[in-house]
Structure formats: C-alpha cells, structure tokens
Amino acid sequence: MTAPAKFIGRSVPRLEDRPLLMGRGRFAADISFPSQLHMRVVRSGHAHGNILSIDTTAARALPGVHAVWTADDVADIPPIDFRLTRVEGLQPYRQRVLASGRVRYVGDPVAAIFAEDAYAAEDAADHVAVAVETLPAILRADDEPQEFLPGHSTEPAEVRKGYGDVDAAFRAAHSVVALELIIGRHSGVPMETRGAIARYDAGRDMLEMYGAAKVPHWNRDQIARLLGRAPSSVNLFECHVGGGFGVRGELYPEDVLVCAAALRFQRPVKWIEDRRENLIAANHSRQQIHRVRAAIDAEGRILAIDDEFFHDQGGYVRTHGATVPDLTAAMLPGPYRVPAYRARGHIRLTNKTPGGTYRAPGRFESTFVRERLLDAVAAKVGIDVVEVRRRNLITKSEMPFTRGLDTLGTDIVYDSGDYARLLDKALAAIGWDATQKKLHARRAAGEKVGIGLAMFVEKSGLGPFDGVHVKVEPSGTIELVTGAASVGQGVETVMAQICADTLGVHYTNVRVIHGQTDRIEKGFGAFASRVTVMTGEATRLAAVSLRAKALAAAAELMQTPVDALDIVDGEVVRTGGKAGPSMSLADLARTLTNSGGLAAEGRFEFNHMVYPYGVHVAVTRVDGDTGGVVVERFLVAYDIGRAVNPMLVEGQIAGGVVQGIGGTLYEEFLYDENGEPLCVSFADYLMPTAHETPRIEIILTEDAPSPLNPLGLKGAGEGGANAVGAAIAAAIDDALGQPGAVTQLPVSPQRLKAMLKSSS
C-alpha cells in the first residue's frame, strides 16, 4: 500500500445510513411480487408427541386458500444439513422442513398454508386440526439421556477437548475450587423478524429467494441440493437486514418451504415471520449447565481446569451442528495459562426450540464459567480479583500462544496480545482504586453497590477464504463485489474505507455489493466476526492489484514511469505533487473498455483465526428490598488490533453490551412443566431498553495488531457481549458482600432476593 491512510482508522460516516435514515430501507417485508401467495406455518402446540393425524379439510375449504401442505407433501425434501461442524453422529437429529411423525417442541412446523393474503393464511392455520399423542417433555439437559429415535439417545455426541495431565494436577493441587453454574436460555432477537420471498422464473429456469442474510451462498447451495436443482439455477438476494446476531440468515425450514412452493405453484410465495413465531421458531441459544473445578496452588495459580457441561440443544440439531458446545469447550481457558485442561460437553436434545449460535457463542457462556472460577479462586486464596488474574494471565512474551486446542477446524493459536497491559488500561479508565473507595463509603452508608471485572479472549476472522472483485466503472465509481453479507454492521463503509485508501480514491466513490449470489460465485457471508478480517484483506488485495493495473496502463498512456505515478482522489498524478499531466481512473477505465476494462480480483486464504481480547468492568447497585439491579457503569476495554472505523467498532461493542445485559439480567426463554413456552412476546421476553442501559464506556486499543494480515485486523462483532454476564455477576457479588453468590444467569430479581435471604 503506497497511499497514506486517509480513511482507515477514521470514524467516517456510514455509507449505509442514508436510505435507512430516510425511511427508504428495503427489508424482507418490503419485497412483494405480483400474484404472490402468502405462507403461514402451522406449528405444534405440543412440546413432544406423536402426530396421529393432521386434518386440513376445513382449512382447504376456506376462501383464498390455495394449498395446505403437511409432511407428506414435502417427503422428497431431505432434512436441513449442517453448515459448521466436525462433530460426528448428529445426522439423525436434523430437522425436516415439516415435522413427520413426531413433534419435538412447541413451534415445530407441522403444516404450511398457502393463501391469497396473509389474513386468509392465518385464518386457515386456525382450521388445521393436529391430533397428537403427547409424550413427556424433556426439559433439562442434565437429566438422564432418553430415547430420541430408536437407536439414538438424546445425547448424540459429547464434545471432548483438553491437554495436559489433569488428574495429576488435581492430585498435586494445594486446593480445589468447584462450582455449578447455569446460563439461561436466551438468544439474539433482531428487530426485523425473518422473512423469505421466493419466485421462479420459468423463462430463465431460475429460482430466486429474497430476504437472505448472513450466509446467502451457502444457503443457495443447500436450497439447490434440497430441491434437486443445480446451484447455478438458484439465486439468493439480501435486502436491508434488521439485525442478525447469529440467528437470522441461517437456513430454516421456512426458507426451503417458500422455495419449494414457488417452484411447485409457479407463483411467488412470501413468508414474513411474526414476533411470536420469532420467539419460538428462530434459534435459541446459550442454555448450559457447567460443573467446573479448578486445581490451584497456594498462591492462586491455576494448575488445571476440569469442566463437564450439559448443552441444551432443543428439539433438533440445526445448521450450526455442535458449534456452540465446541466453542464453549475451546474458548473456556481464555487469557490464562491453565497448564492442564479437560472439557466434556454433553450435547443434549430437549423439547424446546432448537439452539444455534448467538453473538459470542460459547464465549458468553464459558467466560461466565471461567471468570466465576477466577473470582472463586481469589476468594479461596484470599487475594483480590485483580491479583488472581495477574498471576494467571498469559504474558506478551509468550505470544503467539499455542492453546493446545482446536475448534471449527483450526488450531487455536493466540496470534498477539498484551493482556496485562489492557487490564492496566481498563483499571485506570474506570478508576479502580478510587471507585472501590467510593463504593466502600456507599456500602458503609447502607447501599448495596459493587464492582466486578472479567477478562476474555475473543476469536474472529474464520476462513477458509474470501474473494473480492473490484472494477472501475466508466463513471469513475468503484464497484466492489463481495460474497460477504451485511446484517447491518457497516460492511459497505468498512470495505469502502479499505479499498479507498489502498487504491487512492474517496471512500464515498466505492459502491459495495454484498449478499447477491448472482454477482459473485462464492462467498462465506457474515458470521464469527469474520468480515473485516477476511473480506477486508481480500478487498485490500483486490485494490492493490487494481492499483497496479491502473498505474501500468496509465504509465503507458502518460509516457511516465510507473514509480513516478500515484493515484490521489481517483486521479492518476505524478508522485510528490509534481506538476504535469493527470488522468482520472474513469478516463482510464473508458480507455480500457475494449481490453477488459479496469478490474481486479483479490483472494485471501486463511486457515487460522485472529484473537482480539478484552476486559469488562461493571458497577452495579442492588435493591435489597426488591432484588432489582441497576447497572450504574459499564466499561469495555478491547484490543481490536486495528480499528478500520472506530465509531463502528464502538457501535458493535455497545450493542453487544446491551445484549449481554439482556442475557445477564432480563432475557430468558422460560417453559412450564409441559414444555409450553412462556415468553412469546416482548411483554414476557424482556430485552433491555435505553432505560436499563448505562452510558457504555469504551476503551479501544491497538496494542496488538494481528501479525497474520498486513493491516493487523481483528474482529469487532462479539467482544461487547462476551463478558457481560461474568462482570455483572462479580459486581453483584461485591454489592452483596457475598463472594460467589451469583451462580445462575439471568439474575432475575426473584433469584437475587432469594440469594439475599439465603445469606441472612
């Protein structure tokens, strides 16, 4: 890169904002086609049972009803496959697009109505009679495994990871700390519910689906496979997306149903999920029970960690396969040395909504477990919570640090980091000592206030590769096409910034195309905080190549050596501001029209991940009378390696913190003893609002750029959510003066009140 950084590192305004702020966004529900049918899914009202019969006669007879499907109508469609997993044995647990024989959670699709409008479709859904022989609902992942299908138990697999001699470490330990910890079931709940609009164009023999998100290319390939079509005869299109969080954009039964119906009926078919459906049908996440032990020496140094956990997978194994329990086990050791480690994660099917990934999957959970453990070690040894961490942190001189574990097909090697330095910065920013003093004085005056902190290592930038096409259009606009996806996080802006600096144009002249399978052959989408790292580097490589081509062509036309030329604001000029002829990239592109134009490709192959890291600090006030908790302060210190757009990174962190607060204090999918979901609206599923959210203090550092890509990039998407549960739990302990009090998330006021009573 020869141009100086004009845009990378600056909080330039988002290219995405204008249509959104003007009310001109086009979300899935905004897409309609003439003569479309509306789909309504009939869902099981039973958590577990055998389907005896489904009578659709009355529904079919209603005006405006075009068709009603049950499992028999889609018997030729195989179950939905896994996108991410290397754990074997999960195949029998996949979900079919309509339940066949057995229903496994309230919300399981059992029939699909196709009607002339959404009202008629919903009327008809009310007239589908589903007779079910109910079976006992399995609601706890740590109950004894039962039969899922003949020959298959409700524990399809166990995730095992580890290294070192754990048993020897425990035998030699000065003491052992053991905890049982519970993380509640919650999930990403995008403001835009899911939606899918499919149409078939017989003229081109092309099946199209709008409303894609996250992984359009993978979903395109899967839809093609499930419907027996060539992938080249299926295209997916991403519209504006109102939040993804790991949940939206996975391939679900409804996506396949609309595509199958569009083909069969030769009419467009539209499905828009309602909120109740969203809360029982889209992936849940997080629910785990951990039984964890640490062997420690007399100074509080960890000698070994041994964790057994139970992962509540819900009714089926969906596209994520074993990703969440795998990451839980892989990321649990975090920023600490942990000489020996063993994790056994039991994946357990239950009769609840199936689970998948949610922002910081496996890390929100394992960070809660690990940091609770660190706090317990501190209490056991009688040192403070900062000191116990200092004694166990991996040092800068140990980088790169080979963890001895693998996940998602990559060996975990922390690429760079100075964890102790970030801890110092976080403590300085929050004013740790002064805040402690203030809180002490307030506690002396009768308030229940406390402070807690938690540390973590994140992961980001999953391969295997990303490709980007860039082209100078005759108008001078740079078109950048990527197979990444935007779920609202600012992909267009960040790619434009990287392209603009590398090439020598203004970032607003870069038009970024994403999420359109007809524009680029391959793409890996947006997940795992991968886009800035993977697509960012592919973008840089494409822009480097384009720049070289442009300069070579210009050198000839301008009769000037290449090394005497530069590109500034889209003009090829003499270097160093020397006077002389210049030529715009637009003119150059027009000149080259007949020789293929001015275009280039970039491809970044990467078999590792990069590992940003952070510290969360929370100050909380507990209402001893009601059990309510107020988060007074929340600070995130995060080392991003290199922030392409600090404003967007801060936005990612702030949003993650709010979701973390949700999972820590408010959000929980509860079920009654029959497996009936109790949180099916926003009156019962409590997401934090601005009222419940403090001003979030963010310290963004660039002390440890990744050595694995030239810009030093690491991902930003998940560090905000990662340690919120752990930090607030610690702060509540401190407020109550009861170390180790919080063992379960979310800390509902009733649970907190019970903790207070148990201590008095």
Binding site: A118, D123, D625, Y666, A683, P688, H691
Partner: protein, 284 residues
C-alpha cells in the same frame, strides 16, 4: 399476528354507540378506544371480537373537567392528557406523577384512562388510582345509566362489573384536599413494563398525625384495592420510618398474592412490602 376478521362500527354519538353495542355485544362485540391492549391481543388471536364499536369519533367523550368536586374523565381522554396537571391541587399532581409510569410515550398518546379501567389489568396504574381514590365509574347502556363505585367495579383479573352491552362513558375522581399528601411507587423489571407491584398512598396531616389514610396496592392481587389493615396501622401515627414500615408489613401480610413462574407468593409479598413503604416515603 393478523387479527381474525371483524366489522368496525364508527358511531358519532353516545346513543348511536349504545344502539350498536346492544346489537353486537351478544356476538362478542367490543368497544375500541385507544386499542393499546385490545389490538395486540387481537393480533395474537387471543381475542376475536366479530365487531368493534370504535368510540374515537363519539362526540362528548373527550371531556376532561372538574365538576362538583370531581375530576370527570371521558372515555376518549388519552393517558398523555395527564402529562400536565389537569386539576388544581394534589390530584392533578398525583395523576401527572403516576402517568409517567404507564408504558411508553407512544402508548400514552393512544391509550385511554377509561380503557384501562374497562380492561382491568391487575397491574394497571389507573385501576390502582381509581381503587385507591374511590372513583365512580359511569356505565351506560340503552336501558340507562348507572354509577359504580371502584370497589365494586373491579372483580378480578381483567374482569369488571360492566355488562357486555354497557359503555364506560366516564370516570370521576374525587378531588384531593388541598393539604393532602400522596406517594406512589411501582416495581417492574424494566421501565414501562407492567408493575410487579405498585402502591399509592394518600393522607392528610392533622396536628402532625396521619388522618384519612388510603393505601392502595396494585399488580399484586387479582385486582387493585385498598388495604384496610395497612390504613389502620397508619391512622393517628406520625409519619416516619416506623409507621411506614408497620403499614408496609401489614399490607404484605394482608394480600392474597398472584403467583407465576417468576414471582412466588413470598416474593410478591416482599415486593408489596417494598412498594408500600416507598410510596409512603415518597409522600413524606
């Protein structure tokens, strides 16, 4: 989330509304005012009224005035009307304080005071106000008009003394004495949520002692009501921590708590103890 089909009637006068209501009530006809409770449950299809009698264009129901020592609140008066004081003295201030706890601003722009009473959610702030202050509720049908005391009006969870063909045309709140004190407190998990418990207290001070105490508790039982045992502990006492704690304890003991998966009976009593004491502290 698409409601079942219904017919919407838009009468212009109370008489017309009553005539339509008389006709459609037997077919599960319902009155639509602000719609902030009814419309969502229709979207969930938990309610499927075949007819809606939309009173938003009925003349005269927007009355909000003091008349004969009472604040008269017509059936079309929105929550937001109470953001500023609508009556001289403590009552206007009380209503302006309480209204800020009702849901969120957009909801307060649409929802109505009388609609809240007719809906009778146990956690409704206005139902608590009506029960505590002794509101009169005016119900009209084709057969005539009757006035129902709040204590008789609320009959359980979303259950009232209104007959299906009656329209709640107005509520009347007695003005508070110029020297009356009031306090309100509610606990919920998030701002704007339904209260898990709420309390409203009013009293006067005579020679430094509490007189005419009223303690109402909402959100904790099937319907909001005054708690006589708590009032009894307060009467004649000097306001202060000891008296307030005693009243709170009495209220916590007296209630028959609603229970759900998030709220045991014991916890509900804890909350009642807290909100009553804080309402009283707020009053002082």
């Amino acid at each position: 989330m698409k409601p079942a089909a219904f017919v919407r009637h838009v009468p212009k006068t109370v008489e017309e509304a009553l005539a339509i209501l008389a006709e459609v009530a037997p077919q599960d006809g319902r009155v639509l005012a602000g719609g902030q409770s009814l419309v969502p449950i229709m979207a969930f299809r938990m309610a499927r009224p075949a007819h809606l009698v939309d009173i938003n264009e009925v003349a005269g129901l927007d009355r909000l005035a003091v008349d004969g020592g009472k604040l008269v609140i017509g059936a079309r008066v929105r929550h937001a009307a109470f953001h500023k004081s609508v009556a001289d003295g403590p009552l206007g201030k009380l209503l302006a304080y309480v209204v800020r706890h009702i849901a969120h601003y957009p909801i307060r722009m649409r929802g109505t005071f009388c609609g809240s009473l007719a809906h009778a959610d146990p956690a409704s702030e206005w139902c608590l106000v009506a029960a505590t202050l002794g509101a009169e509720i005016v119900a009209r049908s084709k057969r005539g008009t009757r006035t129902i005391a709040a204590a008789d009006f609320f009959q359980g969870i979303m259950s009232t003394a209104l007959a299906e063909n009656e329209l709640l045309t107005e509520a009347r709140l007695p003005l508070l004495a110029a020297d009356a004190k009031f306090g309100f407190y509610e606990f919920n998990r998030r701002a704007g949520d339904f209260a898990m418990a709420a309390a409203l207290a009013t009293y006067r001070l005579v020679d430094g002692k509490i007189a005419e105490p009223r303690i109402g508790v909402g959100g904790a039982e099937a319907q909001p009501r005054r708690i006589a045992q708590a009032e009894a502990t307060l009467a004649g006492q000097a306001p202060g921590d000891a008296a307030f704690r005693a009243a709170a304890e009495a209220a916590a003991k007296a209630i028959d708590p609603l229970e759900d998966i998030q709220t045991s009976g014991e916890y509900r009593r804890d909350l009642v103890r807290a909100v009553v004491r804080r309402a009283l502290e707020h009053s002082a």
